[in-house]
């Protein structure tokens, strides 16, 4: 039963990974990544880490990939056109790569009899799978890295907010945008002087009537 689940979700993970890497439309790539993440969450649970499986779905599939989708929709990223590839070179490189991979596979597995990780692991105990054990490790031995990761996330939030800001705007809040009369906006370009010829100032009307000329 465990073998069946493993093969099913491993095949799903590999299949959707290939779609991520090859599909032209970024939305389809992102949705295939979600499928990959969900199958990896199942594999985590199979490996005795249910907390990580739940966190994977909650954080990775539920927030990070939504951020990707949000940015794709905001920027209206189009489908990628096919690149000009040298098919001959691609074929040779692929053949060499496959031979290398199969050689590595043979070295790693067939000579050691499918036991690269060492002896078979102990069966899962209730204590290994329990949340309490992970929590004790996380908040005990690894408390300092935990706090540092929190600081890192804070830095990332600040960095992302600053990096994505519109250049020149004082603040992105709607309430305190400065109100300029036309022609009075401060010029940010030091190479130009004088009023902006594209925008008429308030003092000059767009047309001159006969009365004004008098």
């Amino acid at each position: 039963m465990e073998t069946l689940i493993f093969f099913l979700f491993a095949a799903l993970a590999v299949g959707s990974a290939i779609v991520v890497v090859t599909h032209k439309s970024p939305i389809y790539s992102t949705l295939s990544l979600v499928l990959t993440l969900l199958s990896m969450a199942v594999l985590f649970v199979l490996l005795g880490a249910p907390f990580l499986g739940a966190v994977q779905v909650l954080v990775y599939a539920g927030a990070i990939v939504v951020l990707f989708l949000f940015v794709i929709m905001l920027l209206n990223v189009q489908k990628e056109e096919a690149a000009h590839v040298d098919r001959g070179a691609q074929l040779w490189t692929a053949i060499v790569g496959v031979i290398a991979f199969l050689g590595m596979f043979w070295l790693a597995f067939w000579r050691t009899g499918l036991r690269i990780g060492g002896p078979a692991p102990q069966p899962l105990t209730q204590e290994f799978v329990a949340l309490r054990t992970v929590a004790v490790e996380l908040f005990g031995t690894y408390l300092l890295p935990f706090e540092m990761v929190g600081l890192l996330l804070l830095v990332a939030v600040i960095g992302a907010t600053v990096a994505a800001r519109r250049p020149g705007a004082p603040d992105n809040s709607v309430d305190d945008l400065p109100v300029y009369a036309s022609g009075d906006e401060p010029r940010t370009d030091p190479l130009r002087s004088g009023p902006d010829p594209r925008r008429p100032s308030v003092a000059e009307p767009a047309y001159k009537t006969k009365e004004a000329n008098v």
């Binding site: 949705l31 909650l58 939504v66």
Partner: protein, 342 residues
């Protein structure tokens, strides 16, 4: 092994039977309640008090023509309504609906999946609900749908944070992620969690409205702003699927709120202790359904009372008000638990 499978299937059948009826009943309740609030009769032609109106609506949905926009992204467009139902109908397997009962000498906990990471799994699966909104909005090839789904994705992940932290605060005194343990804690202390954790309950309440796209947070599907938001291009049966998914999501979050803050299936705060047999199971299920019904009534009441939040007001509320409040609640609860009060 086989007995466990049969027990799980039976429990799932019970919960499924409860949650599949939410959408038709809520259809009637919503229309009659909104009519009552707006001082008009509401549907009253189809059957006594308009009680067969959901049936008429279902027939209409089945026979109406399904129109697909020509430039729509067909696979995503067709998959989105079906995908909307998946998280809605998966999350309720984690909600306990009665005390442990004794059957054939074995103790059967009355929850379909007694997962060790129960509440975390609930939040994780509920967070997958955003994908159907995103797919629907993107695939419709329609500016208003795209705007609706952009707003929906930003709104959902913002309020998910505040909700998760307020849920965390509930878990601190309980020392466990299982919903059954949370109910047991409330039973043992004879107090429902919304009294000692009132701030967290408020945050959860507001975040629950935002998570289910209900007014005053329903910008993704705002009728007067975005035509119909992300489900503009969906008619007939597909719209019915979105509709059903939204109400089932509401019911699932209401069930979670009832379990976390109102004692779930138990009434031990009033001194009533349910026996651990069939009668207790039925009473527990009835209590849970009653609590969910009251929560749904509050949902409807709020919807027809308040105006809608503007998008930037919505994001400000989520990040600048609810998130600090929920963190404050977490710190308070942690401090009080360490001090031994909780």
């Amino acid at each position: 092994m086989n007995q466990e499978l049969v027990a799980t299937l039976l429990k799932y059948a019970v919960m499924f039977g409860v949650f599949i009826n939410v959408a038709p009943i809520m259809n009637w309740v919503e229309r009659r309640a909104c009519a009552f609030i707006q001082d008009r009769p509401g549907p009253n032609r189809v059957g006594p008090l308009g009680l067969f109106q959901p049936l008429a609506d279902a027939l209409k949905f089945m026979f109406k023509e399904d129109v697909t926009p020509s430039m729509a992204d067909k696979p995503l467009y067709l998959m989105a309504p079906a995908l909307a139902l998946l998280p809605a109908f998966t999350t309720f397997v984690l909600i306990p609906f009665g005390p442990d009962i004794q059957v054939n000498g074995r103790t059967v906990p009355l929850v379909v999946a007694n997962a060790d990471t129960g509440v975390l799994l609930f939040l994780a699966i509920a967070s997958l609900g955003v994908y159907s909104l995103v797919m629907a909005g993107y695939a419709s090839n329609n500016k208003f749908s795209l705007l609706g789904s952009i707003r929906a994705s930003a709104q959902l992940i913002s309020y998910e944070l505040a909700m998760t932290i307020s849920v965390l605060a509930v878990l601190i005194p309980v020392n466990s992620f299982r919903p059954a343990d949370i109910v047991a804690y409330q039973q043992a202390h004879h107090v429902w969690n919304f009294i000692p954790q009132f701030l967290g309950f408020l945050v959860f309440l507001i975040a629950a409205f935002a998570e289910t796209n209900r007014l005053p947070f329903d910008l993704p599907e705002a009728e007067s702003e975005l035509v119909a938001g992300f489900h503009t291009e969906y008619g007939a049966m597909r719209f019915a699927l979105f509709f059903q998914a939204e109400y089932t999501n509401m019911a699932a979050l209401a069930a979670l709120g009832a379990t976390l803050y109102f004692g779930g299936w138990s009434m031990d705060m009033f001194g009533i202790h349910y026996p651990h047999n069939w009668i207790g199971a039925v009473l527990g299920l009835a209590t849970l359904i009653a609590k969910i019904a009251i929560a749904m009534a509050v949902y409807v009441w709020v919807r027809w009372t308040f105006p809608r939040f503007r998008y930037d007001q919505l994001m400000k509320l989520g990040w600048k008000v609810l998130l600090p409040l929920s963190i404050l609640n977490l710190i308070l609860v942690a401090a009080l638990t360490v001090a031994g009060v909780y």
